[in-house]
Symmetry: C2
């Protein structure tokens, strides 16, 4: 019956693209169930096996979560403990699991620097929101993050609003601004603490800090966050798995 499309791409990849477009368009909200495989097969005029392969690929990218017997759901940052740690790579040296608290120091509007514009695919001078926060483990300041966001996407973001939100930064972005952080590219270096960072992180000026530059992407690999973190790694470290 199917195979009406004379396209060069496999059917299941075409289906994958269509479903991802619907996800990007917000056809189904975060945490909601997407239509069953049978329904999607009917909608696109392909077999259920083809839909299955498409959704398998989407699930492999963590855009969607399968739950046997229940359905397939749009992934979200507001639940799923497992997902939380996907973007948080700082751990205690002693191995104890601990989820840090986020203390917001400042939120203000500004204009994109040349560097910020480059990372966020904006023009220099475009409106941005600058957010500074500290991650604390057991009340000990460990990471100082300077976060730059495109002003156009985060219009009403204020310190009060961010303080009021219970959950992760990315949960806030998703729940209140409809911006879904899907993947990120990071660059790490070791740098010496300057006066301001040293004061906030309670280390000495010149002490080594882990410098983490992150650009976070949403659908279609569009950059929507640029973040520079400085991490005091005396009792903490950054974890990574090479597969």
């Amino acid at each position: 019956m199917p195979n009406a499309a004379p396209s060069f791409q496999p059917l299941y990849l075409q289906v994958k693209d269509l479903v991802e477009k619907s996800l990007a368009a917000g056809e189904w909200g975060p945490g909601a169930a997407i239509p069953s495989e049978a329904l999607l097969a009917q909608r696109f005029g392909v077999s259920q096996g083809t839909v299955r392969k498409a959704i398998d690929a989407i699930a492999a990218e963590n855009l969607v979560v399968r739950r046997q017997g229940k359905g397939t759901f749009v992934a979200t940052h507001t639940e799923e403990k497992s997902s939380l740690f996907r973007f948080l790579r700082i751990r205690r040296n002693d191995g104890r699991d601990e989820y840090p608290a986020s203390r917001i120091l400042d939120v203000r509007r500004g204009k994109a620097s040349v560097e910020a514009a480059r990372h966020l695919d904006l023009d220099p001078g475009d409106p941005v929101i600058l957010l500074r926060r500290v991650l604390e483990f057991s009340a000990e300041p460990v990471v100082l993050d300077d976060i730059t966001l495109p002003g156009a996407l985060f219009k009403g973001l204020t310190k009060a609003r961010a303080d009021a939100y219970r959950g992760s930064m990315y949960g806030l972005f998703e729940a209140q601004f409809g911006v879904r952080m899907l993947k990120a590219k990071e660059r790490l270096r070791a740098v010496a603490a300057d006066a301001a960072s040293a004061r906030i992180l309670k280390v000495r000026i010149g002490d080594p800090l882990l410098w983490v530059d992150r650009v976070t992407l949403t659908y279609a690999d569009r950059p929507v966050e640029w973040r520079r973190g400085l991490c005091a790694t005396r009792r903490f470290h950054y974890v990574n798995e090479l597969g």
Copy 2:
């Protein structure tokens, strides 16, 4: 016809385990083709689709590489430019692609320290091989690696033999000792350079260095290398992708 096994595991996972066991046992050497899907299906008494799913999963773990029209091949560190950069995360800040040279400073036998034993799942005092080398980009020393290997697995490893090998460290381990590095866990910190490291990396004592601790695993997640790297990140950085 199949379904003879009253097991709790899906058939394709059983097949996956069997094929992985054959890989671990070296039934097919690095770079060699494994049997075709049809042959494996026949061998295990399952359908080709089930074998396909099993091999898909193995390919997703980079143990094996599919090549349409040719076959499925045991992955190797000695070819595939793409694979080389999987374990090498250091890049130039200016974005230029460059593959570094490895200069071996020293290879000697020793006894496992408590720390080495813990990382390599040995007993303290067990024989190990200690290898120290420098990675150089354009003749500039950038990374100082102290590598600890289980003596039992790398019996004849000497400086002369390592110097003679053309290719990556993991290519050497695979080609000459039959030890395949499959994945790794890393922990990163920022530290201050001590006298010895500073001299080799040509930085000042106290300068910040990126500290990279890596345990590399082979089949069955068995640890077979512990490596501590110190990286001067003035003109270089460590890259990571969060998916």
